[in-house]
Amino acid sequence: MSKQESLSQERVRELENYIHISKNIIREAYRQFDPKDIRLVWSGHKDSTLTLWIWKETCREYGFTLPKAVTLDEGDPFQEVEDFLARISREWKIDLEVAKNEDVLKACNYTLNADVEVKSLNKRNQEELARIGFEGLERFPFEAESFIGNHLMKSVALNTYLEENNVKIIVQGLRWDEQPVRSDDPYFEEVEAQPLQPAQVRIRPILHISERSLWDIYHHYKLPHVSLYAEGYRSLGVKTTTKKMSDLPAWEQDLENTAERAGRRQDKEAAMARLRALGYM
């Protein structure tokens, strides 16, 4: 379904039903938790923006208070995404906070591919490196989506923010069809505390919404999205390691038969890191 064509009555009812399911999950969240303990993790990308919109609509309908949102600054942003976050948080009146691993950014002098001396990092970051299998590493180049960068700039940045703000409940815009690894995720998940990671509840209200349905909802409800999707980006990560897979707008690409995350990097990094640990590299 492209942007120009209008949707059938039946399809619209289907989309309404998907949104209804999400709203019920959000209402359940309010039955269980206080909104001040919740953070909406909002990257400004398509999935978390849809989640935020449905959450906001649910609050409007039921008179709930909208929780704060948090976005990750991984040190390699698309300007378009930053502009979008600023504009939409203003228009939708979102209280948006930023989580980042300032220690790593300082160590590389805020410069991509600059070397980070491990001993110049704080104790927490050094412990985190050891935890993911890089004990004894002396330096690494700063990249946001290398195996190390992904851990320090995403997982550690978010965990530190949650600890400092005593937040135990996060909302994630994940979808079951996004990638096979997601197809087991539940709507509500309690994650037990682990070393360096506090216990968490993760709420995922749009798991059941497919990539196709997501775009149909964006167009039917005229929701705003980052302009990059219209330029052919299908799944957004950080700027340097996210590639366009086509010049067609994301919603006109062959969503059903090609991989959503093909333009992304971390899958390769993960595979390579595993092989290294098994002694193959």
């Binding site: 993960a270 595979a271 640990a277 098994l278």
Partner: protein
């Protein structure tokens, strides 16, 4: 025949460590399965490491059939799920080995494919453990079984026997309670001995073997846990379970450790059991078979035609199996990676004789496995059948030489 099929593969599991293949007491559960199984005593893998072994198990093809693809799954391989899908069989794969992950293209055709690549793992256990794979399989059963009665094919793969050998104390206790070694020390042995392929100390190699066996104990426990899950979902009576390994593991038998580009028995001779709840007594099958025979066996059980691209033949019914020689191939690798010049290694076995070819030094070896099961006494050139066996391998070597 039963309704569903499960293929359970165990990475780097040597055949001779299983009690039912003459090993010690580390695998009581796996051994107990032989009472309702066809046990193949001469099953061979298409290669001595994961990238070389799995093309046979999952697509009935050899590692180098489509050129030297550095482990990637080329489009020409026809995977089991691609054929089963046409027959309306639901398929799922759950494992934790990067070499058969979506990154290398092995996710093609599956209804559900989990390779764990986005999970956080540790340096000492760089994969998702067998118990966790079991749990994910149980979740998949829970989610999909109520949806309809159509049969399923499930492939699951355990990594837990693979190095680094850092077993939990409870399992090491069962192998040698007198062996006192911390996990940190085990990990140091992995880095300083296994990765360096240092077999200079027989004592150290013996300790490594015990650590490996402790991991075998863990896997045996996980297989038992998995059969309990089958039972709890009522699948124990209508599911055939095929159990095998992608390759074995060397402990100094031929000067090395781990699994490099060699074709000796400790690496390419693998366990193979077909567990069938309808079998009333154990069957032992002594003909030479290949893990390339697994895909056509699975389609046979589902009563579907095999892919014409597949090179193996169905193991079932046993009486129709036409015994022939088996072969395998890989890229020579020593230490941790495939050698840059991509030289080949090959083997071929027929009857009691097995011939090896190594391109790196253009050398041939021939062994009579009946008289010399350890492959110590090279009789190449001394036996009149050398030439006949070489002729089986030479066309395979020549594929890439124009």
């Amino acid at each position: 025949m039963a309704k569903n099929v499960i293929l359970l593969t165990i990475d780097a599991l040597r055949k001779d460590v299983l009690g039912c293949y003459g090993g010690g007491g580390e695998t009581p559960f796996l051994d107990s399965l032989q009472n309702r199984s066809i046990k193949f005593t001469k099953a061979y893998s298409g290669g001595p490491y994961t990238q070389a072994g799995f093309p046979g198990i999952l697509s009935s093809s050899y590692y180098l059939d489509f050129g030297k693809t550095k482990g990637r799954c080329p489009p020409g391989r026809v995977l089991i799920p691609e054929i089963l899908k046409k027959g309306g069989i639901r398929t799922a794969a759950l494992h934790s080995n990067a070499y058969i992950s979506s990154f290398f293209g092995w996710n093609r055709g599956w209804d559900h494919f989990y390779d764990s690549m986005e999970e956080q793992v540790s340096e000492r256990v760089p994969y998702i453990r067998a118990g966790e794979i079991n749990r994910k399989v149980a979740e998949w059963f829970k989610r999909t079984l109520p949806n309809g009665g159509e049969p399923f094919f499930l492939w699951m793969h355990y990594m837990d026997v693979h190095e680094p050998y850092v077993p939990e104390a409870e399992y090491l206790e069962k192998v040698d309670p007198s062996l006192k070694i911390s996990q940190e020390e085990m990990f140091q042995l992995f880095k300083n001995v296994v990765l360096k392929r240092d077999v200079s100390s027989k004592e150290t190699v013996a300790i490594l073997k015990k650590l490996y066996l402790a991991q075998v104990v863990e896997v045996d426990t996980a297989v038992a846990g998995f059969f309990r899950i089958l039972e709890s979902f009522g699948l124990d009576k209508n599911t055939t379970v095929i159990i095998t390994a992608d390759h074995g593991e060397e402990f100094g038998e031929h000067g090395g450790l781990s699994h490099d580009g060699k074709m000796y028995e400790e690496l390419v001779s693998v366990p193979l059991l077909i567990y069938d709840p309808d079998l009333s007594q154990p069957v032992v099958w002594e003909k030479i078979v290949s893990t390339l025979d697994i895909p056509p066996t699975i389609t046979e059980i589902f009563n579907l035609p095999p892919s014409p691209a597949w090179q193996g033949q169905s193991l079932l019914p046993l009486g129709k199996y036409a015994e022939r020689g088996v072969c395998g191939e890989a890229i020579d690798k020593h230490g941790a990676r495939e050698l840059g010049d991509e030289k080949e290694v090959h083997y071929y076995r027929e009857g009691d004789l097995k011939i090896h070819y190594r391109e790196t030094d253009d050398s041939w070896q021939l062994y009579n496995l009946m008289e010399d099961p350890g492959e110590k006494n090279n009789i190449y050139g001394k036996d009149t059948t050398s030439e006949y066996l070489m002729k089986k391998i030479i066309p395979r070597i020549k594929r890439f030489k124009g």
